[in-house]
């Protein structure tokens, strides 16, 4: 079953080249099959693996499904399911890339092998670059490719150093070994750079604004599914495999990322760019909490990430659609009240306004940081929130209340209105009952910090056979 999550979209990606007219249906089919497989299965009881080619761990490549990878892969596939039902115009000619990206994201999350994760990350970068090039956005895609390529090299270098130091590439096996402090420092630093580009960590996030603002599809995919997959891997590597080593660097960079992202967002005059930088800042908050290393901190990191990706999907969906259908966005929500309400709910959720999901995660993050006697993170988060309030209110005022330009009203597809308002409702529901997300994120965090169970679960197959 685990291998099907990777095999189904991969097979359909090839078939979609042969039967182009059915490509959209294939994307929908792949995402739905994966979501159904996961929902029928439910959270796994412990650690399950699929040993590729029957090679017993620590040899060969294995796919691991535990509570952490289950939640991450479910979120990724749910977002792809929503992307698959968007109007064909929005994803025209990019369905094969989307199927390959789904394959790579699922593989990246599920793999228990360091080198294999590098391979999937590179496939993810390549497909993401092709999606980013939509609407002739070639130069920004090129920049992303170069940065992604350099990050890939550093990720590979980190993997090679891990192999040199530990003699193994299996994550569970490496987690059971004691590496020298020098090796750990080198490896974690290289992984920070390797993951930093995709995780939008300062100063490696120069590509974000150009790619996110270049078309309507890239931010929807990269800002939600890919971000979740990468930040899952940050937790898995730094939390499970390296036992929190190297998280100090991650923490400092995350704090700078929050402030740099919010400040840059405030200065933007382009709607998509503003929220692209906002994504950078939110990723900073998530990474800062992951680097704390405790179960509750990691739980809140992924809880905040879940809220953020739902809000960002709504914002990018609404903004992306309107921006390519109107010359001027001033007062555009007077014509599209449903989209306007969804956008406002999502943007106010981002700043942590009471009534919306973001409030639950931000207040809990601040309180948890105080409990851990960390006063810097709350200060940075609060300062970031103040800046955030500035640009969120500015954009809402402009989109709702500015003088409307005499442009003809564009008919918005039902799917866009439906998805955006449903996601806005989810943000309110999560505020009223945070357990909707917390039940999953708590299990995820527990699985990430419980290195012993992870290692035993994966490696026990070496003794017990298939």
């Amino acid at each position: 079953m685990i291998s099907l999550l990777v095999a189904t979209p991969l097979l359909l990606a090839f078939l979609s080249i042969l039967w182009k007219k059915q490509a959209e249906v294939m994307l929908f089919f792949a995402a739905v099959v994966n979501v159904l497989l996961l929902l029928v299965k439910g959270f796994p009881n412990g650690v399950e693996i699929h040993a590729m080619g029957s090679w017993k761990p620590p040899f060969g490549i294995n796919l691991v499904l535990d509570n952490a990878s289950f939640y991450a892969v479910l979120v990724v596939n749910l977002f792809f399911m929503m992307i698959s039902i968007l109007p064909g115009k929005m994803k025209k000619s990019y369905t094969t890339s989307l199927l390959l990206l789904l394959t790579a994201a699922n593989g990246f999350i599920l793999t228990g092998d360091l080198f294999n994760s590098f391979v999937f990350m590179e496939i993810m970068t390549i497909t993401a670059v092709t999606i980013a090039s939509k609407r002739d956005n070639f130069y920004n895609s090129y920049k992303y490719l170069i940065l992604g390529g350099v990050a890939g090299s550093f990720y590979l270098l980190a993997t090679v150093f891990t192999y040199a130091a530990a003699g193994s590439l299996n994550m569970a096996h490496v987690a059971t070994l004691t590496l020298s402090s020098g090796a750990l420092l080198a490896v974690t630093t290289l992984y920070t750079v390797g993951l930093g580009v995709e995780a939008k960590l300062f100063p490696l996030n120069g590509w974000v604004s150009g790619v996110y603002s270049g078309n309507e599809l890239a931010p929807l995919v990269l800002g939600t599914s890919v971000t979740f997959a990468i930040l899952y891997m940050v937790g898995r590597l730094f939390g499970t495999v390296f036992h929190g080593n190297g998280s100090e660097t991650l923490y400092v960079l995350a704090l700078i990322t929050i402030l740099a992202g919010e400040t840059a967002a405030l200065r933007q005059t382009n709607l998509l760019k503003t929220f692209a930088y906002s994504s950078v800042a939110q990723a900073g908050i998530v990474i800062a909490m992951i680097s704390k290393g405790t179960e509750e901190a990691i739980n809140l990191a992924y809880f905040h990430l879940s809220n953020d990706v739902v809000a960002k999907f709504t914002i990018f969906l609404v903004a992306g659609y309107l921006i390519y259908n109107y010359k001027d966005l001033d007062g555009v929500f007077k014509k599209h009240k449903v989209l306007g309400v969804a956008f406002s709910v999502a943007s106010f959720s981002l700043i942590g306004f009471p009534l919306f999901a973001g409030f639950q995660s931000k207040i809990r993050i601040i309180m948890e940081a105080f409990l851990l006697k960390d006063y810097l993170l709350p200060a940075v988060v609060l300062l970031g929130t103040i800046i955030e309030i500035g640009y969120v209110i500015r954009w809402n005022m402009r989109l709702w209340f500015d003088e409307e330009k005499e442009e003809e009203k564009v008919k918005v597809p039902f799917v866009i209105g439906f998805i955006s308002i449903m996601l806005a409702i989810i943000l309110v529901v999560v505020f009223l009952n945070p357990n909707v997300f917390l039940e999953g994120t708590q299990k995820m965090a527990k699985a990430i910090v419980d290195t012993k169970s992870y290692a035993q679960g994966v490696l026990s197959i070496a003794k017990g056979g298939m």
């Binding site: 130069y139 090129y142 170069i146 390529g149 090299s153 270098l157 603002s213 270049g214």
Partner: protein, 114 residues
Amino acid sequence: MVFWISVSLIGVGIYGLLTQKNLFKHLISLSIIDTAVNILIVALGYVDGGEAPIYTEKFSNFSLNNFVDPLPQALVLTAIVIGVGVLALGASLLVRIEEKHTSIDVEDMKGVEK
């Protein structure tokens, strides 16, 4: 020795990325970094006077220490293929950039970012 050669090559690649204005040279710099990492991986599995990791009767002086670790070589083959894929995509994007902006110079790209 090989380690320092590899590190130097990575430095050359990064220097190229930071200083060159021609976008094609960025691609070459990326290729240099890729190659440097690949050299390091191959060197990792190198054993002086080593044998292929296949046991046959002809090895009378059989010793595990003489076997070359095949894993780095397998890894490097995959890494090369991925590197070529990235370069190919980069080259195709460069063609489209040249078509659209009639230049592949960083200076001419100012303001391209929307």
